[in-house]
């Protein structure tokens, strides 16, 4: 059927709109690949600043680590943990997983790593603040501490170093908690973070995808049961070897 002039106008308008919409999408895509969205920066900064402002807290963690075998097959390892932090100089981290039960205690003076099942522990003198201790443990002993650099006051700068792209993906639910979902790209890795919506912008989940290893293995951690006013007792941040435990060396890096 012959279209009316008005019909042709409408069709032309539709085509025009489609083209305009496509152009807009294209621009949006370019904008995404061109840098870090200000809202993404702002949400991340709000979260890291909020955590930096917490003097004491606990949280439970659930980790998933992918390992790629030579064949290319991925194997997944899981562990759960309990984290206890008191700024500026106390930390306890317990984890249990597929291969190990391990506890990490920092009392402001020394760092103890122990495995209850194996009845062994190692203890070294450590610097006087949490941040210094984390650097010390990693640099001198290759011990990577629970909570890592999320505990640093300038976690935002650390996280954003090298980041070339960042977007707000949208809203998401993590373990029943409404979150803002952010995604960032840096050379050789993609990472995502889910931040609790509202007045307490706590990190709820982080996923790191390593792009320069075969099959791009991921490490993910989900954080639950945040407690920003925990009660610690005298034993939380102290280590007393149990009977039958053997002290062993923590090898230098």
């Amino acid at each position: 059927m012959e279209s009316t002039p008005r019909g042709r106008q409408t069709a032309a308008l539709s085509r025009c709109c489609v083209i305009a919409a496509l152009a807009t999408l294209s621009v949006a895509a370019q904008a995404q690949s061109a840098g870090v969205a200000p809202e993404a920066k702002q949400m991340l900064k709000a979260s890291t600043d909020f955590l930096a402002g917490q003097q004491r807290f606990t949280a439970d963690t659930r980790n998933t680590l992918e390992i790629v075998l030579k064949s290319g097959q991925k194997i997944e390892f899981n562990s759960t943990g309990h984290q206890f932090v008191q700024r500026p100089n106390k930390l306890r981290s317990e984890r249990s997983g597929d291969l190990v039960e391990q506890v990490f205690v920092y009392d402001g003076k020394s760092l103890t790593l122990y495995q209850p099942q194996d009845k062994v522990y190692a203890q070294v003198a450590a610097p006087g603040t949490l941040e210094e201790m984390l650097d010390f443990a990693r640099e001198k002993h290759d011990v990577v501490a629970p909570f890592g650099d999320l505990l640093f006051k300038n976690a935002y700068d650390i996280l954003m170093d090298g980041v070339t792209e960042g977007i707000v993906v949208g809203k998401a639910m993590i373990e029943g908690v409404l979150c803002d979902h952010l995604a960032f790209r840096a050379p050789d890795l993609d990472w995502q973070i889910w931040i609790q919506e509202g007045a307490q912008p706590l990190p709820r989940r982080i996923v790191i995808t390593t792009l320069d290893l075969p099959n791009a293995p991921q490490f993910a951690v989900t954080m639950t049961r945040w407690n920003l006013a925990p009660a610690f007792d005298a034993q939380t941040f102290t280590f007393t070897p149990q009977a039958g435990m053997t002290q062993i060396e923590l090898l230098p890096r």
């Binding site: 963690t61 980790n63 984890r95 790593l113 090298g162 050789d188």
Partner: protein
């Protein structure tokens, strides 16, 4: 606050098992036991558990396979890597070795195929017996002495 550390060194690290299972001897049987035993693989880069870890990732310090069979299965390049890295460990553990020199002297001949002194393994062979010397506990495994230690987050055994 100003910090002087490498800005690339940052970590999302939350209670992480530092496993590094990047390879398995091609002729080895598959299975969980093997994974456990082989979880320290020579020269394998870790799956980074931090965004910064990707940037700062270095080849894992060499770790000798947990049995002579596995060691034999390791490829030549890996063995060379082991030897290079083991040399450093040997220097670091020189003091320990001096302390155990007496023990070693008592062991007239190392069993054939025994791992080199200073080598690090992630599991002891079967049939080890604990022995204490100068307040330090060693494991006597068929005449080869091992001493437990943490290497990073991992419990390992250093050949004496």
């Amino acid at each position: 606050m100003s910090r002087t550390r490498n800005p690339k060194v940052f970590a999302f690290t939350m209670a992480l098992p530092l496993l590094y299972l990047a390879g398995i001897a091609p002729d080895a049987p598959a299975g969980w036991t093997l994974l456990q035993e082989a979880h320290a693989v020579v020269g394998a880069p870790l799956t980074p558990v931090s965004a910064a870890g990707v940037a700062r990732r270095t080849t894992r310090r060499a770790v000798v396979a947990t049995s002579t069979t596995q060691a034999a299965a390791a490829d030549t390049a890996a063995v060379q890597q082991q030897q290079a890295a083991t040399a450093q460990q040997q220097a670091a553990t020189a003091q320990q070795q001096a302390a155990t020199a007496q023990q070693q002297a008592a062991v007239a001949a190392r069993p054939p195929g025994a791992p080199a002194a200073g080598a690090v393994v992630t599991a002891l062979p079967a049939g080890c017996k604990p022995e204490t010397s100068n307040g330090v506990e060693y494991q006597n495994c068929g005449g080869v002495y091992y001493r437990a230690a943490f290497q990073g987050n991992n419990l390992v055994y250093v050949v004496q």
